[in-house]
């Protein structure tokens, strides 16, 4: 098992950096993920393994397994403990907790190994025989490439899977309005731009009409309509949606019973 200098110092430095950057919200999305994954899933366990096992006490595979296993276990049990604190399971609390575990255990590891010159055990890749680049590097690179292609194909296929398009229409009472009012909403989830005709009635009387609501795929429309006082006490307010391609055919229909003063 080989030793490399200052692994714990690097570990501590990274942890401190993560705390600072996370608390400041400075990290960009990708950088944050790249740092956070080992911070949560590897660092605490790795530090604990270093602290509690003797030098050269574990093989490389055991170190890897215990590092990730203990990290996840610490997060799980730590979350249970944090639940009973006033701060709960918030971002800052997690960052401080996990960093404290990693730094604390790292400190113990340094102390047990008698100074800064001692290091954590590091897993080393086994001797791969002749031509490591050809025998190992090229196939691994090719494997990564193939898996990347597979992921891309999978995602693309899922996105472009033929799905039945649909339109959403809804009606709700408008809160905060003294007079009777309703909120109308429309969303186009079809595969093409659609022209809609929308009619709002109350007690059978037309309150308002929209004859040319053009919505592109993914677009939505909303409106709040105050009912005329004469119709405000009428029971049923109804919105009927048709498509311009079939104006006489009811495509969507919603209604709401309005109580005067609500």
């Amino acid at each position: 098992m080989s030793h490399r200098p200052s692994k714990t110092i690097i570990l501590g430095g990274v942890a401190a950096l993560v705390i600072a950057l996370a608390l400041c919200g400075v990290l960009g999305t990708v950088a944050r993920v790249v740092i956070a994954l080992p911070f949560v899933l590897v660092a605490p366990g790795y530090a604990i393994v270093a602290a509690v096992f003797p030098k050269r006490g574990l093989g490389g595979v055991e170190t890897l397994l215990f590092s990730i296993g203990v990290s996840v276990a610490v997060a799980t049990l730590g979350g249970l403990a944090l639940n009973w604190t006033p701060w709960g399971l918030r971002t800052e609390v997690w960052v401080v907790f996990l960093a404290a575990v990693a730094l604390g255990a790292g400190g113990v590891a340094i102390a047990r190994r008698g100074g800064l010159s001692t290091t954590l055990p590091v897993a080393r890749l086994p001797h791969t025989g002749s031509g490591p680049i050809l025998r190992v590097g090229v196939p691994l690179l090719a494997t990564a490439l193939v898996l990347a292609v597979a992921t891309g194909v999978s995602v693309t296929g899922a996105i472009h899977q033929p799905r039945k398009g649909f339109t959403q229409l809804w009606i709700l009472p408008a809160s905060g309005h003294k007079a009777s009012a309703v909120r109308l909403g429309l969303a186009n989830r079809e595969s093409a731009t659609t022209r809609y005709l929308l009619r709002l009635t109350a007690g059978g009387h037309t309150v308002r009409e929209w004859r040319a609501l053009n919505l592109t795929p993914g677009a939505s429309w909303q409106a709040t309509v105050t009912l005329p006082t004469s119709l405000a006490r009428v029971g049923k307010v109804e919105a009927i949606l048709s498509r311009a391609s079939s104006p006489c055919s009811v495509y969507r229909r919603v209604w709401y019973s309005v109580i005067s003063g609500n």
Partner: protein
């Protein structure tokens, strides 16, 4: 403490692992091509053959190399890891955009509640018991908080790590017990043939992380049992075992109970063996202390935090046992084998593969168990694994029952820990085989592949469940569609969270998770809401359900009337004709709400409508 054992002193390095991994990745690509074909051109003839070609390309070359004698320890570790992760990708790349598995939505809700409140144990109406075992959700929420990933992305990462933990832990445990990296590789390979590995134990759920925690504790205990007294690594191993055990107890009920039973069995074997072979027993300490601690922790958690487990598990266990007794006594006919709930029958080759897989395991087990007894008579944990393998045949009759078939399949995730070891011992131990003849390696590779294929079919179910494709009624992953997702997003945005609603099985998952609503059902308030949706009319029964359930909204999916439920249920197991529907829901039953007085049709999404309703709603 030794850290490297080599099967063959002349075999070093990674050997063929990089090339075999590349081949495996091509297998993943083939599976993805099959998925894409199923999505874009459903029903095309080449999809199924390409799917199976992909799975075999992932599994068979790795199996051949692991069964061969030429691979080094490092190569074997690499290969089992590659297989484990390759099979995990088979699940992930089936649904790369979001969760689609039934149980994934249940646990999504718990993560959401933790993120929303910053605390644990909020009531989860989708699966109340899961909120009492929040281990997986705690770890996921930690990753969400620190990384900014979505719940889906963090869940995928957590389960990927869990998969790696499981594979490495089992390999190392097998290796330490047998002192053979070859046997360890084969045993791990065979473990990964269990029917639950590809999907059920890969989905975002509590059992998927609990098994790795159990394996982590197990390998630490196996190592500790063989460490010399005074070895300073013992403290570290004890700590790892404690952390694994503690995390397991708060993560999943059944896995923690099974693990404690395993520790108790191990302890019993230790003391039985020690009393007879005091000086030659391979282990220097028993897991008795850990078994007692595990028992205390699981019971404490059960009594003080999660007593709800009893009412959750007991009916399931009772149902299977009762039905099996009924079959034996002739009072019940049991489940119709090889038929799904919609009455579809798999092709003849799939049925034969399932039978062959089970037959091969049952045929190999006696020889394997005999081999374990011959080679490892004083090896306590080896005998314990043999004891676990012995339970496997006892679990099979439950596959004949409706209530117990799922439990029997799930038990395989635990029992294959012993089955894999016993069968691997058989493979290593047969004298002609260990002469490394190419013919015999090919033969055993073929047999292992048959077991893998048969068990995958058992675990994944019919092809409509294995592959993506167009919408199917009440078909879990095949029913997750933009309409349902959009309706759930709408209720969350416009109605706010925590409204009591009544809806069907799939929309209940979506509304309860993404919508953060409270789908009233038998699992939470003990109410059967099926009459609301199944009856053609509206009367006192329906009004009573609305009143009793305090239901404010109905989410009605008219597609339910277009076919039989593929999973056997439209709503839940309390509905009439559950798992035995012969006719779809009548269309009139789903359109009756339009004519009711006192009902508002707030949302019309075409197939999905949302009604605001009160107990006073009535027919005109």
């Amino acid at each position: 403490m030794s850290h490297e054992t080599q099967q063959n002193s002349t075999a070093v390095g990674l050997g063929w692992a990089p090339i075999v991994s590349l081949v495996g990745s091509l297998g993943v690509l083939l599976v993805v091509l099959a998925y894409t074909g199923a999505r874009l051109t459903p029903g095309t003839w080449w999809v199924e053959p390409v799917y199976w070609a992909g799975l075999l390309t992932i599994f068979t070359p790795i199996a051949a190399r692991l069964i061969s004698t030429g691979a080094s320890r490092h190569e074997r570790i690499w290969l089992v890891s590659a297989l484990g992760m390759g099979l995990y990708l088979v699940k992930v790349l089936r649904s790369p955009l979001g969760f689609e598995g039934h149980d994934e939505f249940l646990h999504y809700r718990t993560v959401e509640d933790i993120l929303r409140s910053g605390h644990l144990f909020a009531y989860n109406p989708l699966l109340p018991v899961s909120a009492r075992f929040p281990g997986a959700e705690i770890a996921t929420s930690a990753l969400v908080r620190v990384s900014g990933l979505s719940i889906f992305q963090a869940g995928i990462a957590i389960e990927a790590v869990a998969r790696l933990m499981l594979v490495l832990a089992l390999y190392l445990a097998y290796e330490r017990v047998s002192a053979s990296s070859r046997l360890a590789g084969i045993a791990t390979l065979l473990y990964m043939s269990n029917p639950k590995l590809i999907f059920f134990d890969a989905q975002f759920s509590y059992e998927s992380l609990a098994l790795p925690f159990a394996s982590l504790a197990l390998v630490a205990l196996v190592y500790r049992a063989r460490a010399r007294a005074g070895n300073s690594g013992r403290f570290g191993l004890t700590l790892v075992a404690l952390l694994g055990l503690g995390a397991l107890v708060i993560t999943h009920h059944l896995t923690s109970y099974a693990f404690v039973l395993l520790l108790l069995l191990w302890t019993a074997v230790y003391f039985a063996l020690s009393s007879r072979h005091r000086r030659v027993v391979t282990e220097r300490m028993s897991p008795a202390g850990m078994a007692v601690l595990g028992l205390a922790l699981t019971l404490s958690w059960l009594v003080y935090v999660a007593p709800i487990v009893i009412e959750y598990l007991l009916p399931q266990l009772q149902g299977g046992v009762t039905e099996l007794i009924g079959i034996i006594t002739g009072r019940s006919t049991g489940r119709q084998l090889f038929h799904d709930y919609a009455g579809q029958v798999p092709p003849i080759w799939e049925r034969l593969a399932q039978i062959a897989a089970t037959a091969l395991i049952l045929a190999g087990l006696p020889a394997g168990l005999y081999g374990v007894w011959r080679r490892y008579r004083t090896n306590v944990f080896a005998l314990t694994l043999a004891g676990v393998a012995l339970i496997y045949p006892l679990s099979l009759p439950f596959r004949l029952t409706q209530a117990g078939s799922e439990a029997s399949d799930r038990a395989a995730g635990f029992l294959f820990i012993g089955v894999g070891f016993a069968l691997a011992t058989f493979m290593i131990g047969s004298r002609p085989f260990s002469a490394s003849s190419r013919k015999q390696i090919a033969l055993f590779t073929a047999l292992a592949t048959i077991v893998f294929v048969g068990e995958v079919i058992v675990g994944l179910g019919p092809s409509w469940a294995r592959l993506p494709g167009p919408y199917l009624v009440s078909a879990d992953a095949r029913s997750i569609e933009p309409e349902g997702l959009a309706a759930a997003a709408w209720t969350h945005s416009y109605l706010g969270p925590d409204n009591r609603i009544a809806t069907d099985r799939v929309n209940g998952l979506l509304q309860g998770s993404y919508g953060e609503q409270y789908p009233v059902a038998h699992v939470n308030v003990g109410l059967d809401v099926a009459p609301v949706f199944f009856a053609p009319g509206w009367g006192p029964v329906q009004q009573g359900i609305i009143r009793q359930g305090k239901i404010r909204f109905l989410v009605v999916d008219r597609r339910l009337s277009t076919g039989l439920p593929m999973e056997g249920l439209y709503i839940d197991e309390s509905e009439p004709n559950a798992l035995q529907h012969k006719t779809p829901v009548a269309p009139a039953a789903l359109t009756k709400f339009e004519r009711l007085i006192g009902v508002n049709q707030l949302y019309d999404g075409g197939d999905i409508l949302i009604y605001q309703i009160g107990a006073s709603a009535h027919e005109p």
